[in-house]
Amino acid sequence: MSDLERQLRDMFHDRETQAPAARPVSEYLGDQPVKSSRRWQWLAVPAAVVVTAAVVVGVAALSVSGPSRQPAAGPAVSGIRGEGPVWDSATADCDWPYAVEYLPKKDFAFDGTVTAIGPAQSGGPGDDRYLSAVTFTVNEWFLGGSAPSLTVDMPTPQESGSGAYGTGTRLLVAGGPRWGGPDPTADAFAGGACGYVVYWDAQTADAWRTASIATGDINQEETSYPTNASGQTYGNLPNSGEGMRTEDIPDLIGVKGNSGLYGYITKHAFLGGPPPANPSQALENQATASPVTVPVYASDGVTIIDYFTIGVGEPVTELNQP
């Protein structure tokens, strides 16, 4: 060992006494004032959340050393509305800071209305005091799900200001399975601090829909399209569907509508009826076909959001080829 190596050992030994003292875990997970250099991550929630949690569940429940961790149940405040992200994300450190084009990085995304708020459900042995299980009626799925409702663990709501929401609040929510795994909505979690929980407005909903349809499903395997509540598969066609078998085409196919909105047309409309029985019939169909305008649906296959005109000779007709 060289002198330098020995000096390094000695130096580290000396420095041990200058190391700061460890703080309670709860402080590292969120109840400290935010310093300019401090980077709060998705599990860290604003100090105001902690204040409310203390009011709601009592200070005793906030004790880290307590025998049981009692999750915070959020205030049931009806009809809270707002604009933009629910939480101020300025101090968050996020793998994917909020930008609509990053939406496909999320495992699920939906437009939903809060119907209930209760104790967090997704937790393992960790500390979930600042989380609440928020149940939504899903108005529209953008990514990863199809159920009519979903319960998501999110930071406990506030009655006003950053983090305010309650029953009746309509939100755009994106997140993922808290502990990973193939099911996008298992132990559903939305941290919020990175801006992926947003008060609903039509324009933002359009942007989410566009982002999720335009790029979110594009990499899906042909056989892994999500299914909506009616059991219809939906998604984009990889490579414009070239070479796809008819049976592999989803029931609802992503298109950009005439008004520029992204949604889905039905497979039936897309295919334009049964495939031609022979080349002569195909030529005849082509000669007599005329442009047809069909509805563009949300992923639920019911809500019409736009229209799409299928013209003769458009690439979509090529997909009728087996």
Binding site: L4, M11, F12, A19, V25, L43, P125, G126, R178
Partner: protein, 166 residues
């Protein structure tokens, strides 16, 4: 290990010392500790299943440190001031050794995160190249080269200053 709280109660001080050696200042150490706690909390079931939750926690911490290439590696200068960066005779006195070590601590701030992590794991945690590589998620040869590069850089920085035999 039943909970993150239990892990931190048992090993929080050691982890914070490691964070301090890696990051170079008390504030940065607390930030690194926070990042580590958040990651551990997020993946607790996996941590709890690990053979050694402490080793897992150290790995998370080291990776958090090296992953953030833009993290500012700051160093506290406790003896005097940045003049420590300049050559200063250490001599053979006790005070001289203290100055030397302070200078060394300061010079650690000139290393890249990967180099500093290698040095900390080798000479503070007293790990072998292989053990350090396991924590860093790289090959032992990478640890060796980073350590060698760090030592060379430190030697150059200190130079053949008067009375300094590094």
């Amino acid at each position: 290990m039943e909970s993150l709280e239990a892990l931190m109660a048992a090993h929080g001080a050691a982890l914070l010392r490691l964070a301090f050696m890696l990051s170079g200042s008390a504030d940065a150490a607390q930030d690194l500790m926070q990042d580590t706690c958040v990651k551990l909390h997020r993946h607790w079931p996996k941590v709890a299943r690990a053979d050694s939750p402490l080793a897992y926690a150290k790995k998370v911490m080291v990776n958090e440190y090296t992953r953030n290439a833009t993290r500012k590696v700051s160093s506290e200068i406790s003896v005097s001031d940045p003049a420590l960066l300049a050559r200063e005779p250490a001599g053979g006195s006790f005070e001289g050794h203290l100055v030397e070590r302070d200078r060394l601590w300061t010079l650690l701030g000139t290393l890249s995160p990967a180099e500093r992590a290698a040095v900390v794991l080798r000479y503070y945690e007293d790990l072998s190249d292989t053990q350090a590589a396991a924590l860093l998620g790289c090959r032992a040869s990478t640890v060796r080269s980073n350590t060698a590069r760090a030592l060379a850089r430190l030697r150059r920085a200190v130079g053949a200053g008067e009375g300094v035999s590094l």
